[in-house]
């Protein structure tokens, strides 16, 4: 049952350790799509309305084109569907289609006005698990520059969320609402060829021979708290990644991993904005301390993360994204974790001025993040976008949400409505310009994966990465075959 070289339960004489193959280089080319301007260039006075305007303006064309393809021949009772440019121009009883931004009116959705009046409340309501009202009293609107149109219809239930751009085919009812028969959305954008950016950089036409690609390991939700109970599984993960644990065969397998992606939530209580619970505990232990209270800061979790990274880095390059509970800015796109958090591991990164070009070392990147690994375009997020979108809908699996986000070409459709977001003015990087080959979302409750196809033959691998702290799982993606596997670290506790 155990292969011959698998059992290390042998004593003297010690045989010479078999040498484990070295890792291959990780071909890595990050994009800086989500980097915000630095310092004084970063402004927060802009209105969010511009984001919606921009989104509609940029996506309208694609949606209209899709709708034309689908509905130009469409007839209902001898009546041809026509395109109406502004939602307010819809005539009653006329079969037509319009394009607009979805807005969901939900009573349970957080509301800025409520937030303001919260100061007068005795007890604020708990954060919502879902915005869906069980009585079904939620309204959906379609909005463009001209105004809003209330839309109803069976096809809409639990399908769209605030912020996505939609073409809706239907007729206006007597009560003024728009009865929808069918909908269209932009669908996947153009997908770059593998190695496209690398090849375009080369002046010579000759194709360089590339080595067979290895695997990329993805972990999210390390959730380091600084207490001991999470240490051991983390140790096992560390020893697996460095190829120290297990026998020669499995060590060679581990050597195929050429990069580690840490997809958010590496620390568990480090967000600059405290969660409700953290805030409550903090408030209770109020002391009379003036100025900065050094005792309130616990450096242990950050030190542990640093130590983990430092021990993995000699054998494997790492890309680390911030997540909801990490010490980065809270508004999307989250900017890279500051190198000061990594006093030891940052020596594996380029010096500060060039640190965002670290190809073989520690690359602290934005969330969401986009880049090329082994020629494939990879889009990764810390999971907040998916998490927030799931609150709008019921009985939907995260992997489906991820699929819809790509098809809507919106990486964060619910921002800025229910998800904090930088007020982009002239360009919105959260719109999907190029279709990735691999789309990752970290910090999901469960592992999930799916391959979707686009209208032009685009193939995208979607991976929902589970929280390591809760499941002990990391995901390996073979970058040659696009196969996915899981590695699970666990401890059998005594007496179980």
């Amino acid at each position: 049952m155990i292969p011959k070289d698998g059992s290390m339960l042998i004593g003297e004489p010690f045989k010479d350790p078999t040498s484990v193959p070295s890792r291959n280089a990780s071909s890595y080319k990050p994009l800086h799509t989500f980097a915000l301007p630095k310092g004084a260039e970063k402004h927060y006075q802009q209105q969010y309305a511009d984001m919606y305007f921009l989104r509609l303006a940029l996506l309208k064309k694609a949606v209209i084109q899709k709708a034309h393809e689908a509905w130009d021949d469409f007839e209902l009772g001898g009546e041809k569907a026509t395109y109406v440019e502004r939602v307010l121009d819809v005539r009653q009883g006329e079969l037509c289609w319009v394009v607009g931004t979805v807005y969901m009116e939900m009573n349970l959705k957080p509301n800025v006005l409520d937030d303001i009046s919260k100061e007068h409340w005795i007890v604020a309501p708990p954060p919502r698990e879902t915005y869906v009202n069980s009585s079904g009293a939620d309204d959906m609107m379609l909005e463009d520059e001209s105004g809003r149109l209330r839309v109803i219809g069976e096809t809409l239930n639990s399908t769209y969320v605030t912020g996505c751009i939609l073409a809706a085919l239907g007729t206006e009812q007597a009560d003024g609402s728009f009865q929808v028969i069918a909908t269209q959305f932009a669908d996947l954008p153009r997908q770059p060829q593998r190695w496209e950016r690398e090849d375009s950089d080369r002046t010579t036409v000759t194709k360089t021979k590339r080595e067979k690609s290895g695997k990329v390991a993805i972990v999210s939700g390390l959730g380091i708290t600084g207490t001991e109970d999470d240490d051991l599984t983390l140790d096992l993960l560390l020893e697996y990644l460095t190829g120290e644990a297990t026998g020669p065969t499995d060590q060679s397998n581990a050597a195929q991993i050429t990069r580690l992606i840490v997809a958010g939530d590496s620390l568990s209580h480090a967000s600059p904005i405290l969660s409700r619970e953290d805030f409550a505990t903090k408030k209770n232990q109020k002391k009379h301390v003036y100025g900065y209270d050094a005792s309130a800061y616990n450096a242990t979790p950050a030190e542990k993360l640093d130590s983990f990274l430092t021990q993995v880095l000699p054998t494997m390059p790492i890309t680390i994204l911030p997540g909801a509970s990490d010490p980065a800015n809270v508004a999307l796109p989250q900017q890279p974790l500051h190198p000061a958090l990594f006093p030891h591991s940052r020596s594996f990164a380029n010096p500060p001025a060039l640190s965002n070009e670290t190809l073989h070392g520690l690359d602290s990147v934005t969330n969401p993040w986009e880049g090329d690994i082994e020629g494939w375009r990879v889009l990764g997020t810390g999971g907040q976008t998916v998490e927030d979108l799931l609150k709008y809908v019921e009985d939907v699996h995260p992997i489906e949400v991820m699929e819809m986000m790509l098809r809507w070409r919106c990486i964060a459709p619910t921002a800025p409505d229910t998800l904090w977001c930088y007020p982009f003015q002239d360009d919105d990087p959260l719109l999907l310009r190029e279709c990735p080959h691999i789309y990752l979302a970290g910090n999901m409750k469960k592992f999930g994966r799916r391959v979707i196809e686009g209208p032009a033959g685009q193939k995208v691998l979607l991976v929902a990465v589970p929280k390591f702290r809760e499941t002990g799982q990391i995901v390996l993606v073979d970058l040659e075959s696009m196969e996915v596997e899981l590695v699970e670290c666990g401890v059998v506790q005594p007496g179980v």
Partner: protein, 445 residues
């Protein structure tokens, strides 16, 4: 050479020190390949248990494929991909309910750490075991496997200075020739692992060291006592108390500093009364200066050296102080230039503390800085914390927290425990003179 050493190392660590050891720590300590270290552990485990059954306990690391039933139960129901079934542009974007997703299990490799008690049971849960090796050895069955993580912390601390890019040669971890490491301008200090309660077992050695150090100190103080002649009986308990908790030591020191400064402020008569001796505190005062802000165990070692260097100065200070004390006691009446508060405190304190000695609750003092006569610093205190648990019950917990304090704050611990060493000797005398506290009165009665 390592081949011979490993038995000694393991015997010393596991059997003598009662601390766990993992293959990784063993490989670092002996500079051997991790895979060799795993075999060494096995060899030692079998040999030792053949000699004396159950003297050594092992944990095993298994890697392989778990049975699928296990998957469904425990870990994850997962979605497969059903790409093929999807036609590309679909009119209704309605996500399909989960049930329709084709279930296609993803190959999963499990890495499981297990004690030898549960090994057979766990083995049976595997469909296919890729490899198995001993992960760690420990003197007896461990209740909480998390204690093993201290071994890795030890590695992070003790072997941080090694060049990480060369480790693969020795230890056999996977080599990556592409990684580059910048040499930073300064070398950051190796990560300090905060001493935590759980860490205790591993820090046993450190504790031993500590004890040694304090033992030395004790010796030193005893000899001082001897030279000064008397009160040796008292010095015994005093030094004992010191050795039992480090925090106490520190407190003693910091207080001592204060005493000393006071003593210096009043250079009175030069003749020293030996009977008052028994105050090792001043000696340690001197060491206090060497203390850095964060107390590390390492800090203790150099103190011993300090002792000798500063012994002379300390002695002088002590003599002055004794002298002063004696004078005070001789004339029952308050002296015109009244004793500083602290001094009195200290006299009362000895017995107080004896009665209600609460060093544990007081915790340790991080650092005290005296600036312009103001004390400021940080100290660790046990705070009671009330939390409402999920069931709605109020639970009171004691937690160690750091708080900063300054002169204005009441200083609960400082005065008392500090005074202890000095006072035990002093207190008795003082009591005799009727200067003692109420407690001392009772004691006499």
């Amino acid at each position: 050479m390592a081949e011979e050493n490993y038995k000694e190392y393991l015997a010393a660590r596991v059997l003598t020190d009662n601390r766990p050891v993992t293959y990784r720590l063993l490989s670092r300590a002996l500079k051997v390949n991790v895979n060799t270290a795993k075999q060494m552990l096995y060899e030692f485990h079998t040999k030792q248990n053949a000699k004396k059954p159950n003297t050594i306990h092992a944990t095993y690391l298994l890697i392989g494929k778990m049975r699928t039933s296990e998957h469904i139960n425990g870990v994850n129901g997962r979605d497969g991909d059903d790409t093929v079934m999807r036609s590309s542009p679909f009119i209704s974007s309605m996500p399909e309910p989960e049930g329709e997703l084709a279930e296609e299990p993803v190959p999963t490799t499990s890495i499981v750490l297990v004690r030898e008690e549960e090994l057979e049971k766990t083995k049976s849960e595997f469909e296919d075991i890729g490899s198995i090796h001993i992960y760690s050895l420990e003197p007896g069955p461990i209740e909480n496997l998390n204690v093993l993580s201290v071994c890795n912390q030890e590695i992070a601390m003790d072997f941080a200075s090694e060049d990480p890019l060369e480790q693969w040669r020795v230890y056999g971890s996977i080599h990556n020739p592409y990684i580059k490491r910048r040499t930073t301008k300064y070398n950051p200090v190796p990560p300090k692992v905060p001493a935590k309660p759980t860490v205790k077992p591993t820090h046993a050695a450190a504790a031993v060291k500590k004890e040694d150090a304090s033992g030395l100190k004790r010796k030193g103080s005893v000899s001082e006592d001897n030279t000064s002649g008397q009160s040796t009986p008292q010095s015994g308990p005093v030094s004992l108390k010191k050795s039992d908790s480090k925090s106490n030591l520190k407190k003693d020191k910091s207080v001592g500093d204060l005493f000393k400064s006071f003593a210096k402020a009043k250079p009175k008569a030069k003749e020293a009364e030996k009977s008052k001796e028994s105050t090792p505190a001043p000696v340690e005062d001197e060491q206090m200066q060497g203390m850095s802000e964060d107390e590390g165990d390492e800090n203790d070692a150099p103190e011993v050296k300090f002792d000798e260097e500063k012994a002379a100065a300390a002695k002088k200070a002590r003599e002055e102080r004794e002298e002063k004390l004696r004078q005070m006691m001789e004339d029952d009446v308050d002296m015109p230039d009244a004793e500083p508060e602290e001094e009195k405190d200290s006299q009362d304190a000895p017995l107080d503390t004896a009665v209600s000695s609460k060093p544990a609750e007081s915790g340790s003092q991080g650092s005290v800085t005296i600036q312009g006569g103001r004390r400021r610093g940080r100290r660790r205190v046990m705070k009671k914390k009330k939390v409402k648990d999920e069931d709605g019950y109020l639970v009171t917990k004691e937690e160690a927290v750091w708080e900063s304090f300054s002169e204005e704050d009441p200083e609960p611990k400082k005065a008392k425990p500090v005074a202890k060493p000095a006072s035990t000797a002093k207190g008795k005398k003082a009591g005799g003179k009727g200067q003692g506290s109420i407690a001392s009165f009772f004691k006499k009665a």
